[in-house]
């Protein structure tokens, strides 16, 4: 049984016709994955490194399917070049679902630098992102964000903060 917030994230993706997913799991996005794995209409590919998911989902979009990449913000660092030189350059949309470690309530010092860099990295790539602090905010903004991504034909990101997910307790 996934957490309530996680079901809302999964539903935002599915009701926007996203059925192909790639992931390197982390503790937080695994709650969303539970819903997607249980859905026979969804295909979830576990990749070895987040950048691979960017390539895979870009191929899927070129073949007519919308895709989302679920990962921790550390994984965003692993796929910056692919997002820039493939998705932004060639206007290939992808939805990034990023659990936000290294911010409010973080217990692990190693998570903090990428946690603080997450927003600036997305901004530097010109990727529009939201960071909903509650299920109500997610519901108010999620559909619009995904729609904007396909209107612009560019990546967008849903960053999942500890205020929404409960974070990870150290």
């Amino acid at each position: 049984m996934s957490a309530s917030w996680a079901k809302h994230v999964a539903d935002v993706l599915r009701r926007n016709d996203i059925r192909t997913f790639a992931t390197v799991p982390d503790y937080i996005v695994s709650h969303v994955l539970e819903d997607l794995w249980a859905d026979a209409g969804c295909r979830v590919v576990t990749v070895t490194r987040e950048e691979e998911g960017v390539g895979l989902l870009s191929g899927a979009w070129l073949a007519g399917r919308r895709g989302a990449l679920l990962m921790q913000n550390s994984g965003l660092g692993n796929c910056v070049n692919a997002l820039a030189s493939l998705n932004v350059a060639s206007q290939i949309p992808i939805v990034l679902v990023i659990s936000h470690r290294g911010d409010l309530g973080e217990f692990n010092p190693a998570q903090v630098p990428m946690g603080q860099a997450t927003g600036p990295i997305l901004d530097a790539l010109g990727i529009r992102w939201i960071r909903p602090g509650s299920i109500a905010e997610l519901e108010a903004q999620g559909d619009g964000l995904v729609k904007l991504g396909y209107t612009r034909s560019l990546p967008v990101a849903i960053v999942l903060p500890a205020e929404l997910t409960g974070g990870k307790q150290g």
């Binding site: 590919v45 950048e51 691979e52 390539g55 070129l62 007519g64 692919a82 060639s90 290939i92």
Partner: protein, 191 residues
């Protein structure tokens, strides 16, 4: 012993056998040769994201199981994304074939040796990743037989083609990356 293969000759040999297959070509030499020798809407040229050719092709293959997908990668690029071989093995799409032009150097950047110039075998890595149909070919006869298999049998295939060093004689005349991605997407949608 027949003469060593060139990437252009191997590309030409493949192009002569293509009909409805999708081809995803790696940035640099693989795309230059393919565009010069056999440009077609079902070709996807990659210009950035070094290492991602095998993964982009996997995404196409999973989304379109009704089409055969051939990726044309390079040794330097595949070495950046060896994990994709494990993902291909796990997902095991029967319509997927990864051809690696292995000239044992980073050609585009001036010919610096890669790990395949020393001790590494990409076909052996692919087998270790779990792809049973992983071949290494060095002659035109072997290449013809490999093409017959990868275009006729269920995959996934990895065909590592040992080719001579050398830059493509092709030159990109069109770097409209947005337009080319759109052309490829529309060609796929029409099939």
């Amino acid at each position: 012993m027949s003469a060593a293969l060139t990437r252009a000759a191997a590309t030409r040999l493949l192009a002569g056998r293509l009909s409805g297959e999708v081809v995803v070509a790696n940035l640099g030499q693989a795309s230059l040769d393919l565009q010069a020798i056999a440009d077609r809407p079902l070709n996807c040229y990659t210009y950035g994201a070094m290492g991602q050719c095998s993964s982009i092709a996997l995404g196409v293959a999973l989304a379109r199981p009704d089409l055969r997908v051939v990726a044309l990668d390079g040794d330097g690029s595949l070495l950046m994304n060896l994990g994709s071989l494990c993902t291909v093995a796990t997902e095991a799409p029967p319509n997927y074939a990864l051809v690696v032009w292995d000239n044992e150097v980073h050609q585009t950047t001036g010919g610096q040796p890669t790990a395949t110039a020393a001790r590494s075998s990409l076909a052996a890595v692919a087998r270790g990743a779990g792809i049973e149909k992983a071949l290494e070919v060095r002659t035109e006869d072997e290449l013809r037989r490999a093409y017959d298999r990868m275009l006729g049998e269920d995959g996934p295939f990895v065909v590592c083609v040992k080719v001579e060093k050398g830059r493509s004689e092709g030159r990109f005349t069109d770097r409209d990356v947005v337009g080319q991605a759109r052309r490829f997407r529309q060609a796929l949608a029409a099939r």
